[in-house]
Symmetry: C2
Subunit: 224 residues, 2 copies
DNA sequence: GAACGAGTCAACGCCGTGTCGAGAAACGGA
DNA sequence: TCCGTTTCTCGACACGGCGTTGACTCGTTC
């Protein structure tokens, strides 16, 4: 009895589901179904919100019955989590790239980081919106988000501290607090521009505006 | 047949539910029930999330049966919306007060505005968290939020423009875009600190950090 | 060809929502 | 005082989503 990949219970590593133990992964029709479910989920998310998608929709879309769905995934959230793992990997990779590449100057560097953040989520609009939606209902989704957020905050806080250390940025509130506030801004502004609900910035305005706020917050000074 | 107050359908004004048409509001046991429902909702929200509260919980808490609940409110969301109307009124009042009172200086003024924003939502923690949660499931809730957000943005954008006009703040990205980004930051940072999920600022750090970002973003300059 | 595991699904139980229609309770007039 | 109207109440229902159970098929392996 395949337990599905266990997203949804116990957080943690759990990279690839140990799959293909047998020499040649004999008869993998099961994997096809699993992929079909994931593909269906991604397709349906382009059309409707996560809440409007039922397990039955996913099963039908993958050409199986509802109980069979549960053979592959323990819940709808687990499907989302599996999909999100890809996005998270991509986001982490983008972050690594950006923070390790040498920048021509501060403006260049922060600009690139913000653009990377924006691009990553913009290129997975539907998933990003579903992610935010599921945060209120699933602790696992919430904590996956918290991990990603935390990694960005740490990178940014470290970068701010480095700028302060070399005398390029003035001291002020703790670097970590600054990073938390600014990263929160990124998150909310980008989400609003992707989901299109309420007053939001046009996509082309997002990075310039965020950049201005980041630069002044990190390097600028208040009046008096 | 009382239609309940019609929160949940057709947005709009709809201040007080036209109640008490009869000379003396003869026999208002109905109002008592309605208040009981609202009070129950507020009490339960302190204990559990909106999603974990069923219509049955609200009905039982108010001492009535589930069908009777529907005599007073068309849905659970409508109860929340009614509760939120109070918070919105309070937030608008706080905003009006803050923006109309003369400030000793820029720092004073913005500090007061941020504190007002923070205080308003902090004093209704449970409702604020429920509000955010319901935004993903109810269009009415979403649009109520958008209205409040928009009013703050307009006030702040106007204030920024005034500062620019009198030469105190440099030109840069459009004032409205700046206001949208900064207000988004407020929203997200305050929500995170109230809901306590994921990495968040301590409540006492919220206003100082936000203030630093606002001041530098409005008045400061980027390097080069 | 028996035993096994992977895969499949009809049928079930549970819980939440919202509605319908039959009443009880209070009032306002004739 | 009775009678109609309005207000209010709820038992019973229909529906839909979730997750589980138990039996059944079908290849593979020994």
């Amino acid at each position: 009895m395949r337990a599905g990949n266990l997203r949804g219970m116990s957080e943690g590593a759990e990279q690839s589901p140990v799959r293909a133990r047998g020499r040649r992964a004999a008869r993998t029709s099961g994997d096809d179904r699993e992929q079909a479910i994931l593909a269906t989920a991604e397709r349906l998310l382009d059309e409707k919100s996560l809440g409007a998608i039922s397990v039955d929709d996913l099963a039908r879309g993958a050409g199986i019955s509802r109980p069979t769905f549960y053979f592959y995934f323990p819940s709808k959230d687990a499907v989302l989590l599996t999909l999100l793992d890809r996005v998270v990997a991509e986001a982490d990779e983008a972050m690594r790239t950006v923070f390790e590449a040498p920048a021509a100057g501060p403006r260049e560097g922060w600009q690139r980081a913000l653009a990377a953040y924006h691009d990553t989520f913009r290129s997975h609009r539907a998933l990003t919106v579903a992610w935010a939606e599921a945060r209120s209902t699933s602790a696992a989704v919430r904590s996956l988000w918290a991990e990603v957020f935390e990694r960005w905050v740490q990178r940014c806080a470290a970068a701010i501290e480095a700028e302060r250390a070399r005398g390029a940025a003035p001291a002020g509130v703790p670097a970590r607090n600054l990073a938390v506030a600014l990263t929160s801004m990124n998150e909310r502004v980008i989400y609003a521009s992707l989901s299109g609900d309420g007053p939001a910035l046009a996509e082309s305005d997002v990075v310039p505006v965020l950049l201005q706020v980041w630069l002044t917050a990190v390097y600028g000074r208040a009046p008096e």
